[in-house]
Every structure is written in structure tokens, then in C-alpha cells.
């Protein structure tokens, strides 16, 4: 536990020192939202809720992919070898997953606020919507962190990351979009319980798999 905490602090400190990466991601999400606003030419009534919801989650998906794809490539190779001797691979992958979840949740929150500002806010059950953003952040982060780890071992990093992440993220994305749509419509909690449990289940499976598999990746 101490190790994981120390590693998370290391990630935060590294990110804070080179703030341009964080600022870049914030700018990415704000400008994407703004482009959508201009593109859709939103009138007073706002756009169709389904479009609103799906567009939001697509923006979040691409933000998450571009944010997490940097997580393994940011450090120089010499330093990676240093970490290899110091920390356990399980600690590293868990710390990266936790850090990436917080990062994506932060970016999603900012994105949601800006999005509801410019495109209107048809959300009925805001608490459920925040829950879907929270669970979605964890889901995206856990899947994409392991995929980023796999892509970092290969030559063709960026294309591989994109090719691998899209099909693997789709189950989580679909469940989260439907949960968010239910939050938009103001559906009762009892109806969405299955989806929430399924999301939590997938998150746990993915995190457990990452925990088991990452040591094999780390060795090479």
C-alpha cells in the first residue's frame, strides 16, 4: 500500500512539473466541446438528448485514449529500468490505473461542466449521471492503461494504441452510454441496478486481469 501511494505521488508530481501535458488535455476537451457547439449550431432548445449524450461520451472516449496513451511513454528508458529495480510491477500498474482514473474523472468533470454550459443540460437525474461518469472513468482507465502498457512494448505505438483500444473499450462504452441515457431520462434506480452492477463487475475483472498480466509485460 505504501508503495502504491508513493508511486501515485510520483505520477502526480511528474505531471505537475510538466504541466503542459495536463493543460494540453484540458485544452483538448474544451476545444472539442466548443467545436461541437459550433458545428451543431445549437439553438435555444438544445439538441436531441440521445445526440447530446452520445456526443459527450465520444468526446470523453477520445480524450481518455489520448491522455492515457502518454502514460507509459512519458518517461525516458533509463528511468523505466530504475523503476524496474525499485518497485513491484503490481504496484506500478495499480498506481497507474488509480492515477489515470483520477485524471480521466477530472477531465470528464471539466468536460461535463463545459458541455452543459454550451450545449444545454437536459439531464434529469444528475447524481446518476455523475455516477456514470465516475464508473466510466474507472472503466476506461483500467482497460486503456493495460492497452497502453501493451502498446508501449511495440514499435508502432500510436496506431497500435488506437487499433487495440477501440474494440476493447466498446463493452464499457456501450453500458456507460446506456446508463447515462437512463440518467438523462430520469429512470428509477431499481431499473438501472443491473447495469451498474455489470459495470462494476467488468471494472473489477479488468483491474484483476491487469494486476495479474502486467508483471509478464514488465519483464521485457
Amino acid at each position: 500500500m505504501q508503495e502504491i501511494k508513493a508511486l501515485i505521488e510520483k505520477e502526480i508530481r511528474l505531471e505537475w512539473r510538466q504541466r503542459y501535458a495536463l493543460n494540453g488535455m484540458l485544452l483538448y476537451i474544451v476545444s472539442t466541446v466548443y467545436v461541437c457547439y459550433l458545428g451543431f449550431n445549437v439553438r435555444v432548445g438544445g439538441i436531441d438528448p440521445i445526440t447530446w449524450n452520445t456526443l459527450f461520451w465520444i468526446i470523453l472516449l477520445f480524450t481518455a485514449v489520448s491522455a492515457i496513451s502518454k502514460s507509459f511513454t512519458q518517461e525516458r528508458t533509463g528511468r523505466l529500468l530504475y523503476y524496474y529495480t525499485l518497485a513491484s510491477p503490481q504496484g506500478i500498474i495499480l498506481s497507474k490505473i488509480i492515477y489515470n482514473s483520477c485524471l480521466i474523472f477530472l477531465l470528464s468533470s471539466v468536460g461535463f461542466l463545459v458541455y452543459s454550459l454550451v450545449m444545454g443540460n437536459p439531464v434529469d437525474n444528475t447524481l446518476m449521471y455523475w455516477l456514470s461518469i465516475f464508473l466510466g472513468s474507472i472503466g476506461f482507465s483500467s482497460t486503456l492503461t493495460l492497452v497502453a502498457g501493451i502498446a508501449s512494448k511495440a514499435e508502432n505505438n500510436a496506431t497500435l494504441m488506437a487499433v487495440m483500444s477501440f474494440p476493447l473499450i466498446l463493452p464499457i462504452l456501450l453500458i456507460v452510454i446506456s446508463l447515462a441515457k437512463n440518467a438523462l431520462d430520469g429512470v428509477a434506480w431499481s431499473v438501472v441496478q443491473d447495469k451498474i452492477l455489470l459495470l462494476i463487475g467488468i471494472d473489477i475483472i479488468v483491474i484483476a486481469l491487469s494486476y495479474i498480466l502486467f508483471p509478464f509485460l514488465w519483464r521485457s
Binding site: N156, P167, L209
Partner: protein, 252 residues
């Protein structure tokens, strides 16, 4: 540790390795040497092809004779899942042992599965054209299965992007283990929870069993599943042997 004598200090795990080394007829390598199951495959598939078209089927309103596609479309997909499962097991075995044969086995099984998926889509499209009006309608299960096969296309792209053999095998094994779990979520869990689907058994529809009212389709269906799985195994064992020969030649 002497090979000839039994080492008293050997742990259970090393004793098992000892047993496998002495007895190569166990496991996949043993299966490749035998030929009884290949003859069985030919017999089963001939039976399926002949009796599938000549045998009786229960009369159904919209399906009519196209229900015979049940003997081809569904067994292809069941065979695919079986092959991917075996590939998953061998990826796990590869990570635990590091033997390059296991990596060859798992990657060739995935190659054959990809071909099976294309055949599955074609047979599904033919069936859809007669029963649903369009070859590829707007159906969740078809879309999810397409994305699921994209996972394995990504696996192939991943493999091709590596130069170093050992690294390629290890990273591909990690991806395979991770991907198979999400594959199952995509093709089994998700289609059952959607609201609407054209496929039987998904989206709130009843399963195909209600169409098999006389239970006579089972007589051809279950052998077809076994036959297609064995055929896929046969093709992949041939490919594995080719790769083994290439590897031995390159090592000389």
C-alpha cells in the same frame, strides 16, 4: 537432477514436467500425431452435409427450409468460440512456461478463428437475406460480434508490429488473455441485455429451441458443432506443423 532416476526432492510440478517429457502423446503435440479424430471429422462433416440437406426438419412459418442454415451458421460460431478458448488456455500456458510451441498453437488457432468468423458472417448474411430481408440488418448482435472480431484483427496487427520473436509472443499472449475475457462480455453478456434484437436468444427473444419443435434438428446440430471444432483444430495443427518446420529450418 538425473534424468534416469526419480529425484526424491522433486516437487510435484517438476514431476509433472518429467511425465510430459517422457510421454509426448499427451497434450496438443500428442493430438497432432494421431489421425483417428481426423477420420472422425470427415465422417461427422459428411453426415452433417448430407443429412443436413436431405433430412427432415420441423415446418416453421418464416424460416421454411432456411432453418437448415442452423447446421452451418451456428456451429461455425460455436467452433470459433471453442478454438478461441483453447487459444486462450495456450496463451496462459505460454506465459507460465515460455515454450515457443504454445505461442505457435495459440496464434494459429486465432488465425483459423478469424477465417471462421468471415464464414460465419457470410452464412449469416445468406440467412438474413431470406428471413430478415437484408443481408446485414441493423441488429445489435451482428454489430457486437463485428467489434469482437475487430479485437482479434487488432491481435493480428499487434503480432505483425514486432520484430523480436520472444517479445512478440509474450505481448501477444498478454493481449490474448485480456482480450478473450472482453470478447466474451461482448458476444454473450451484452446482446442479452439489449432491448431489441433480431437474433433468437438475444434482446428478449426466445432461443432457437422453440423452432426445433420436433427435437430432430439436435441430431444434426450437435455433431455439426463437434465437426466444425475438430475441422478448425485440424487446419490449425497443419499450420502449426508448417510453422514448426520453418522455425527448425531457420534455426539451423
Amino acid at each position: 537432477m538425473k534424468r534416469g532416476a526419480l529425484n526424491v526432492f522433486a516437487s510435484k510440478k517438476s514431476l509433472n514436467n518429467y511425465k510430459f517429457k517422457k510421454n509426448p502423446s499427451l497434450g496438443f503435440r500428442g493430438l497432432m500425431k494421431k489421425s483417428w479424430w481426423k477420420i472422425l471429422t470427415v465422417i461427422i462433416l459428411s453426415y452433417v452435409f448430407i443429412w443436413g440437406f436431405a433430412g427432415p426438419i420441423p415446418a416453421q412459418p418464416i424460416l421454411h427450409e432456411t432453418a437448415r442454415n442452423l447446421y452451418f451458421h451456428v456451429p461455425l460460431w460455436f467452433g470459433l468460440i471453442a478454438l478461441l478458448f483453447i487459444s486462450w488456455i495456450y496463451s496462459i500456458k505460454y506465459l507460465r512456461s515460455g515454450k515457443v510451441e504454445y505461442d505457435e498453437i495459440s496464434s494459429e488457432l486465432i488465425n483459423v478463428s478469424v477465417v471462421y468468423s468471415v464464414l460465419g458472417f457470410i452464412t449469416g448474411a445468406i440467412w438474413g437475406k431470406f428471413t430478415w430481408g437484408q443481408p446485414i440488418p441493423n441488429d445489435p448482435k451482428i454489430q457486437y460480434v463485428a467489434v469482437a472480431m475487430l479485437i482479434y484483427f487488432a491481435y493480428l496487427v499487434l503480432r505483425s508490429s514486432f520484430e523480436d520473436d520472444q517479445r512478440r509472443a509474450r505481448v501477444a499472449a498478454v493481449f490474448n488473455i485480456f482480450a478473450f475475457v472482453l470478447f466474451n462480455v461482448l458476444i454473450v453478456v451484452l446482446p442479452r441485455i439489449v432491448n431489441f434484437s433480431l437474433h433468437p436468444g438475444n434482446g428478449g427473444n426466445p432461443g432457437f429451441k422453440i423452432y426445433d419443435s420436433d427435437h430432430i434438428m439436435k441430431l444434426v446440430f450437435y455433431p455439426a458443432v463437434i465437426g466444425y471444432t475438430l475441422l478448425g483444430l485440424w487446419i490449425s495443427t497443419i499450420r502449426i506443423r508448417i510453422r514448426k518446420i520453418e522455425r527448425i529450418i531457420s534455426e539451423m
